[in-house]
Every structure is written in C-alpha cells, then in structure tokens.
C-alpha cells in the first residue's frame, strides 16, 4: 500500500468568539492516499470547510485557532511549518478552489496574469514568457475557447462557470498533489455544475492529483468520489467507500441525508423525508452523541457517551454510532 498523502490526526479547530468557544472541528481524523478522491459531506456548519482551511493553514487567527492534533502531508506536520514554508506549499503542492467563482478572482488583474503569477511564485527558473505560456496552456486545458486571446481578459469578462474553470487552472497550474475543492459547484447552475465536475475529475486523473471534494450535495459525491467522510457538528460520523455510503449507510445521520434527497424514480407527489430538528448549538454541544437529539434510533447510552468512529464490519466502512445499521 502506498504511503498516505494526507493524514489528519485528532484535529481540533476552535473559534474563540464573544459568545464562547465554537468547536468547529473537534477531534477529526482521516487519511487520503495519493490520487484518491475523497468527498466530505455535511450540512452548513458541520466543519467541512474549516477542516479544509485547516489543512491549508488559512484559518483566520484570531478568532480561529488550531487547538490540537496534527496534519501530516507527505509525512510532515503542516502545523509545525513556518509561514514561509507554508507559502511554498500552498498553490504548489496543495491548492484550493472556492465556492464563489464570482468573487474569488481579483478584478483588477487579467486571468492570464493570475495564473502566471502562481507559476512564477513556485517555479523560480521560469521566465515571464514561459509562465504566460503555461497560463494559456492551462486555460486551454480547462477548455476556455480561444485561450490565447482570453488570457488577456479580466475576470468580469467571463461567466461564473468560466471563472470557476480559471480557478481550476490556477489551482492545477503547478501540478499539486492535493486539490481541495470547497463546494466548487454550489454557486453554479446545474448544467454548468456537471461540466465543471467532469473537468475536475478528468484533470485530476490526468495530473494524478488527489481531490478533497467538499460539498453538501450527495449527487456530486456519487459522481466524483471514491471515498466519503460524512461530517456532523464538527465530527466525522461516517467514513466509507462511496458505494457503501449509498447502499448500506451505517450512521442514522447518513440514512437521514439519503432519505432527504429527491430521486428521479420517486413516485409523483411522494414527499421527501427531512431530518427533524436543528443541528446543535456549536458553543454548547450537549454531551453524548451530537446527533442524539435528532436521531430516530436514540438510546439512553447515546445521551451519555460520545461514540468513537469504528469499523462496522463491512470492510472499510466505519461509523461513530453505538447502534449502526
């Protein structure tokens, strides 16, 4: 088995606010293999994005702080790295694309410049012309028509979908080993979503890049990922290969999520089954299982102790539940 590309152990990222400590990510552990595509799903506030930003070390401090754990990238702990070492890593070995392509590009620079700038930053021996050629090549790769001319255009001259492709071009320009995509298609309309996802899937395979795909859309996960982490209230509650998540979900939360997705083959007029209740207040998380208050299968024990993530006896699948399906 190949060495792990990314190994996150007991990561704790807290935000110290006036209202109290928000434990956005609390004791999260997972691994990624080189070239693997990992989906991270969960509702808003479940800690998906904070996990990703922690790996990038882009948590705004204050109020945020990585309070504990380790993040090993190629065996080296990112949390021990200096600011300079981190900037060397970002954009070159690990890169990230964000949710809103409309605001993620700098409006006053051409897209070609914004790609070439990343290349120049990380490849010291590259001339300006070479960096520019690489930018045009990347625009071509993300299927921007007439890339040579379009490289000289500014972000406002592109549509949302095209801007997200430009973001992908920036992210992949230096052949990173890990690409973190934080809800890359949420702000796009559905047809464009499919195109962008196909593009990411194709390019990451071509470049051999591992992808951490953060989304709240299980449809995206089904189409692109090999492995899935389901997050809830700052914890990973289920972790499994994608097929098993859909066929034999173990955690009641995963079951609830799957039941609340509309399906093409549902009977007309059939009602969706939403998950009752609200996610817990992240400042005062009750003891026991964070999902206990909304869980249809809750037992007395669930309100006392927090279940750890453990194998459920179906190969690689594990769940943080005392009574998994």
């Amino acid at each position: 088995m190949a060495a792990n590309l990314l190994e996150v152990n007991n990561l704790k990222t807290y935000f110290y606010t006036r209202g109290g400590v928000v434990k956005a990510v609390d004791d999260v552990s997972f691994i990624m293999k080189p070239g693997q595509t990992l989906g991270v799903v969960g509702e808003s506030g479940s800690g998906k994005s904070v996990t990703a930003l922690s790996v990038m070390r882009l948590i705004a401090t204050p109020p945020g702080k990585i309070a504990g754990g380790e993040i090993l990238f190629n065996g080296e702990n990112i949390l021990d790295k200096s600011r300079d070492e981190l900037t060397e890593l970002r954009g070159s070995k690990i890169s990230m694309i964000f949710q809103d392509p409309m605001t993620s590009l700098n409006p006053v620079f051409t897209v070609g410049y914004q790609i070439a700038e990343t290349v120049k930053r990380h490849r010291k021996d590259v001339s300006n012309e070479q960096a520019w050629r690489r930018a045009v090549e990347m625009l071509d790769l993300v299927r921007i028509p007439d890339a040579k001319r379009r490289a000289k255009n500014y972000p406002h001259e592109f549509s949302g979908g095209m801007r997200q492709r430009v973001m992908i071009a920036i992210a992949l320009a230096c052949n990173p080993q890990l690409l973190i995509a934080d809800e890359p298609t949420t702000a796009l309309d559905v047809t464009i979503q499919a195109q962008v996802l196909e593009l990411m899937k194709g390019l990451s395979q071509e470049f051999g890049t591992a992808v951490m795909m953060i989304t709240h859309d299980l449809g995206v996960v089904a189409g692109t990922c090999q492995y899935v982490n389901v997050m809830y209230a700052g914890h990973i509650v289920e972790s499994a290969p994608v097929k098993q998540i859909f066929q034999t979900p173990a955690h009641p939360y995963t079951v609830g999520l799957l039941q609340s997705i509309p399906r093409v083959d549902d009977a007309r007029g059939a009602r969706l089954t939403p998950i009752a209740g609200q996610p817990p207040d992240m400042v005062n998380i009750p003891q026991g299982c964070p999902y206990a208050a909304r869980c249809p299968k809750v037992q007395a024990r669930c309100r006392q102790e927090r279940p750890e993530l453990q194998l459920v006896g179906r190969g690689d699948q594990s769940a943080a539940c005392f009574y998994p399906n």
Binding site: M56, L58, R83, L86, T87, E88, L89, R90, G91, S92, S95, M96, F98, D100, T103, S104, L105, N106, P107, V108, F109, T110, E117, T118, R121, H122, Y154, H156, M167, I170
Partner: protein, 319 residues
C-alpha cells in the same frame, strides 16, 4: 472617449451657468453695497449715483446678470470694484500660483502620510497602533484648521519666548522658491493645511483596505502561496485605491480655491485670502470669478478622477 470628454465639457457649461447664477443672486440679495464700501467716509449722494451708474449697478438684476455672463463668455472677468481699474484676471493671476503651491504640497503631504497611515492601521486593526493613529486622525479631522493654525502660532511664540527659537509664524515667502527661509516659512502652513485631508485619507484608506482584505480574492491570493507582502501591496492595494481616487479628484479641484482658513490665519495672499477679502468688501466681480474658477476646477478634477478610474479598475470603461 472623445464623446465622453465632449459630454463632460457640455456638462461643465451647465454647472457654470448654475454657479454664476447662484453666486450672483446671493451677492445681489446680500446686505451691503459695494459703492458704499468704496466711498467709505467720503460718501456723497451725487457721486454715489454716478458710480452706481458707471458700474451698471443701477440696472435691474437680470440685466446685470446677463451683462456679466456675456462678458464672461468673451473671457472677460471684468474689473475689481475695490482695487480700482485692476482687472479681476490680474488679481487671480497674483493669487493662483501661491494657492497652487500650498495646495500641491499639502496634497502631497496628505497622500504620503495619510495613505500609508491608513494601510498601517488596517493591517494592525484592533491593536494600539490602530487606536492611536485613528485617534490622531479623528482629532485632526475634528479640530478646525483655524484653531490648529492658531495653536501652531501660539506654540511658536512660546518656543521663541522660552527658548529663543526663531521660526516664522506667518507669511509664505517667495512663491515657488525654496531658499532656507522660504522653506521655513512654508512648512507651517503646509502642515496645517494638510492636517484635515491627511486625517480623511487615513480613515478612508483604513476602511477601504479592511473591506478589501475580507474579499474572497485575497483568500485566493493567499491560497496560491503568494507572500503576504505581495498579497497586500499588489492584490489588496490596487483595489483599495479605487475609493481614494474619488476623493483625490475632488481634492484636485479644490487646489485652485486656496485654503480659506490657512491663508487667512497665516496672511498668505492666495485665492482663499482674495475670496474672503472680496466678500468683506462686496467686490462682486472677484467673488464671481473665484466661484467660476473653483467650479471649473472641481468639474475638471472629477473628470481627471474618472479617467484615473479606468486606469486602475478594468471594469470601468469610458464611453
């Protein structure tokens, strides 16, 4: 582009018509009489009527206004009532270089100190550096310049009496000349004149920098692995400068108006000083001329800032 400029210049004509009309009506309706001012203690009714007639002040107001506008269209600003037979043009010519000199140096000081101070406060927001620099900015912004100027003079006098320091407390020296004495004389007025604008630029820069630092594309720039220095000075500043250019346009316009308070407290005979004097003596042609000068300059200053926008922000196109 040409179309844009033509449109703006046509707009300028309308602005000037409005400005001349309003200043004319205010002057006409205001109490006080220029001929009475002129005659002073030698008042004599026959002479008063004769002078009033010869200046055309016995005509109905609309005729006076039209006469003024037609002369203005021919480029004739008329003659001063007070400094007899002195063309208004010559009076402005005397004051303008001084006011421009004071204004340009003042603006330079405002930009060179105000903008970096604002950036610093934004980068250190929430720390004592931010509190101190913004507290200072609020103080400078809130205290009227005639009080600052008087405080400055009092301080100089005190230093002179206690420690024998010799430093000029008023005047401007020779316009656009920089002998050691000239420089000494000029420093005080420039600092006092710059104070308010400096504070304004500092606060504006701080606000706009903080706003830009929260933008998604700044996070992108960091995620690309750019050095913090580049993130701030290349990616953030280009965007943060945009609102500063608006204010700069207006400031450019006010360069010709002179500094009303600073020039008067320091006894500097620039346009600001001339304006105030002409108001005291009801010297209508001079009041009108300074208003026209200021309006023209403000419109042109705004035009300049609109053109500057297109340089800084590619989303803005002149058309």
């Amino acid at each position: 582009m040409a179309q844009f400029l033509i449109k703006r210049l046509i707009g300028l004509v309308f602005v000037l018509v409005g400005v001349t009309f309003i200043t004319f009506i205010i002057g006409y309706a205001a109490p006080g009489d220029p001929i009475q001012e002129m005659l002073g203690n030698h008042f004599n009714l026959a002479q008063y009527m004769r002078l009033k007639h010869s200046y055309g002040l016995d005509l109905p107001w609309y005729q006076q206004y039209f006469n003024y506008v037609f002369r203005l269209l021919r480029g004739d600003l008329g003659y001063s009532f007070q400094t007899v037979n002195r063309p208004v043009f010559a009076i402005l010519q005397d004051g303008l270089p001084t006011s421009l000199e004071l204004g340009l140096w003042g603006l330079l000081v405002q930009l060179i100190i105000g903008v970096p101070l604002g950036i610093l406060a934004a980068l250190k927001s929430g720390t004592w550096i931010d509190t101190l620099s913004m507290g200072l900015a609020i103080f400078l912004f809130a205290v009227p310049s005639f009080i600052l100027a008087s405080l400055f003079q009092v301080a100089i006098v005190y230093l002179h009496l206690s420690f024998g320091v010799d430093w000029p407390v008023s005047g401007w020296g020779n316009t656009w000349q920089y002998s050691p004495t000239d420089i000494q004389t000029k420093i005080g007025p420039i600092i006092i004149y710059a104070a308010i604008g400096l504070a304004y630029f500092a606060r504006l820069t701080r606000t706009s920098t903080l706003e830009i630092l929260r933008q998604d594309y700044i996070r992108t720039a960091r995620a690309k692995g750019l050095k913090e220095r580049i993130v701030i000075y290349r990616h953030a500043m280009r965007n943060a400068l945009i609102p500063i250019i608006t204010v700069l346009g207006v400031s450019l316009g006010f360069l010709v108006s002179g500094a009303f308070f600073t020039e008067n407290v320091f006894n500097i005979s620039g346009i600001g000083y001339i304006t105030i004097q002409s108001i005291y003596t009801r010297d209508y042609p001079v009041i009108q001329a300074t208003a026209v000068l200021l309006a023209t300059a403000v419109v042109l200053g705004n035009l300049a800032s609109d053109l500057l926008y297109t340089v800084v922000d590619p989303r803005i196109k002149v058309s």
